[in-house]
């Protein structure tokens, strides 16, 4: 069974009674443990697709099954619960709570989960260790560099041990060195046995996309190509811009 199964998925935006189609009848599957990059120029609909796959938005037509369940018929609260359990997000602009400690930021998703309160600190600490920030627990988020911020965001995405991590242009606001570190972490999360997370990366850069195993290219809301990466980049190669 596929982790993500999309059939005939489309999305239109209505603005002043003018219908703007953004996604046209997409069909694809993503398996558990995949590392998929969704690529395309701006306006191609890749962000909209990520929002729908990440349950932040709803499709206008078609079906979307996540882990065997049709999510198009779920209400807002059920979607929120699924986002909490099964999905982790890493955003281009980090979206950390300002003037709040690193540890508190990472604990945030746990606050909305059913994980007992006494495990929160331990879990958040473990997640921060796995991104190499085990010693920065009490730093405030605004005292960190961009690369460190994004690593905190990855730890926050990891802390509930979700099925799938969505990364939306995670290196977009970073220099090449810290961008490389972030990609290394994401790739390790996918490869390492103890994690083996499914990672879906949204990017417009080919060199970032090539860290993935598979690239889905979008243009004008349609799938242009869907193929395996032949010369997959390894984390240790670094990110050369």
């Amino acid at each position: 069974m596929s982790l993500i199964k999309v059939e005939n998925l489309c999305k239109d935006y209505k603005n002043d009674s003018i219908l703007t189609p953004v996604l046209h009848h997409l069909n694809f599957n993503i398996e558990k443990g995949d590392f998929v990059a969704i690529m395309g120029p701006s306006g191609s609909g890749k962000s909209t697709l990520m929002h729908i796959l990440g349950l932040l938005d709803r499709p206008s037509c078609g079906t979307y099954e996540l882990d065997g369940k049709d999510v198009t018929k779920m209400n807002d609260d059920e979607l929120a619960k699924l986002r909490n359990h099964k999905i982790g997000f890493v955003f281009q602009s980090f979206n950390l709570l300002p003037r709040t400690s690193v540890l508190e930021n990472v604990k945030l998703p746990l606050f909305y989960s059913h994980i007992p309160l006494k495990e929160h600190n331990e879990r958040a600490q473990k997640a921060l260790e796995s991104v190499g920030l085990g010693k920065r627990l009490n730093y405030l988020s605004n005292q960190l560099s961009g690369g460190e911020k994004q690593r905190v965001a990855i730890a926050r995405a990891l802390v509930t041990e979700p099925e799938v991590i969505f990364a939306d242009e995670p290196t977009g606001n970073l220099d090449s060195k810290s961008g490389g570190q972030v990609m290394e972490i994401l790739q390790n999360l996918n490869i390492e046995k103890e994690h083996h997370h499914t990672v879906i990366l949204v990017t417009h850069e080919t060199y970032t996309a090539e860290f993935a195993e598979r690239i889905i290219r979008l243009k004008d809301g349609q799938i242009l190509s869907d193929e395996k990466v032949l010369n997959r980049k390894k984390a240790e190669d670094g990110l050369i811009k």
Partner: protein, 411 residues
């Protein structure tokens, strides 16, 4: 309780915007402090007046000329002079009504009292020898006038303690001759200090025999009012009834609705006064309530600003799994926390101000009671909690309704 669950979020937010939060809180703080203060000072003033009225004696029955409704003011209070009550009525009461310990009659006027170069504008009271006993007054020096002097037009005068002080200072007043309304009066006594009672200051008055005041000074035959002292509170109702019967008989009145007199006791007076002061307190509390309303609107305003500032944060929270209810509760808890905390601070400030007032009033020589009722504290806290709840709903709903995608994209 969701307040506790959200507490760590709340304290973090408050810390980040200390000054703004404090300014927002000020409205509620002032409102609640005003509620506490007004209630406390109101209760203190009420008990002050009550105690002074009680100090006259709660066994007293007042007989006033002119009929009146049970609850309305007697005609004499409205400045209408009615001449139906006489000294003989008073004599009849002491002789024929049971349980009466004493009866005194009163007339009064104002006059300039002078002694050598000293003079004093004050009011004089013409009364009977029984005054001392009926009013529980003590003579400090000399004596009060006798039953004989009461009627034989003696020109003797007894001074209130303040009047003596003003005219004679430390000098001896007994035996001196005063001039009141061009007549000479011999000072035979000085009363002990009694303090002001209600709206009258007895200490600055001078007292002359009833007939002397009626015939020589005022040229009247009636009395202004009569007071009767009952032997115990249990007999007051009985005595009032007997007095009414007696006066109707003496004044040839068949129909009680045509009474040309009113009989009042202290309990009624207290009731009337109590309802007046209660109304005043309610009015003041309503003004304080208005302050709380304005404070509440201030909090709502600042919470709407906070929601706008934190749209991305709300988007993030929704992305990591916060539901509509989670966000609603977070913002509602924040508003309630701010307003309740303001309420608590307001209560402390209100109590402090009330205490300060009691110290000041006491230092001025009044017997002031420092009271802060539990009800006013509960009211103050309850209202501030409610203000938070009511004015928090709108901003919280606004926050909770945000679409996650739009909130995340918001710049």
């Amino acid at each position: 309780m969701f307040l506790l669950q959200n507490l760590h979020l709340i304290s973090a937010t408050l810390n980040k915007n200390k000054r703004r939060t404090f300014l927002t809180m000020l409205g509620i703080i002032i409102g609640v402090a005003a509620v506490i203060f007004i209630n406390s000072v109101g209760a203190g003033a009420q008990s002050l007046i009550f105690n002074q009225i009680k100090s006259i004696g709660s066994n007293l029955i007042g007989i006033l000329p002119g009929g009146s409704e049970e609850s309305g003011p007697p005609a004499s209070v409205m400045g209408i002079i009615i001449t139906t009550l006489t000294y003989d009525d008073a004599e009849a009461i002491i002789n024929r009504v049971s349980h009466i310990d004493g009866v005194s009659s009163y007339v009064s006027g104002s006059a300039t009292v002078s002694w050598h170069s000293e003079s004093l504008d004050t009011s004089f009271t013409g009364t009977t020898a029984s005054y001392v006993q009926v009013e529980d007054t003590q003579v400090a020096e000399g004596r009060f006038f006798t039953k004989d002097e009461e009627k034989d037009l003696s020109k003797v005068v007894v001074l209130g303690s303040q009047a003596k002080e003003d005219l004679f200072g430390d000098q001896d007043a007994l035996g001196e001759t005063l001039r009141i309304k061009k007549e000479s009066f011999r000072v035979i006594g000085v009363l002990k200090k009694r303090g002001s009672s209600g709206f009258q200051n007895y200490d600055s008055q001078v007292f002359v025999p009833l007939f002397t005041a009626q015939k020589i000074m005022l040229g009247i035959k009636h009395v202004s009012f009569i007071r009767a002292k009952v032997d115990s509170e249990d007999h007051i109702d009985d005595a009032v009834e007997q007095i009414k019967q007696l006066l109707r008989e003496r004044h040839d009145i068949a129909n009680p609705e045509q009474d040309d007199f009113s009989v009042r006791n202290q309990a009624q007076a207290l009731q009337t006064l109590g309802s007046v002061t209660d109304a005043l307190r309610l009015f003041m509390a309503a003004i304080a309530g208005l302050g709380l309303l304005v404070g509440g609107i201030g909090i709502m305003n600042i919470m709407l600003v906070a929601v706008n500032e934190r749209i991305r944060e709300i988007g993030l929270r929704k992305a990591v799994g916060a539901t509509y209810k989670n966000i609603l509760r977070q913002f509602l808890a924040e508003t309630i926390f701010i307003s309740s905390l303001s309420g608590l601070i307001g209560i402390v400030i209100g109590i402090f101000l009330s205490f300060l007032t009691s110290l000041i009033v006491k230092s001025l020589g009044y017997s002031w009671e420092f009271v802060v009722s539990l009800q006013s504290i509960i009211l103050g806290f309850g209202v501030s909690f409610l203000v938070g709840l009511i004015f928090g709903v709108y901003p919280a709903r606004k926050a909770a309704r945000l679409e996650p995608v739009e909130a995340l994209r918001y710049e």
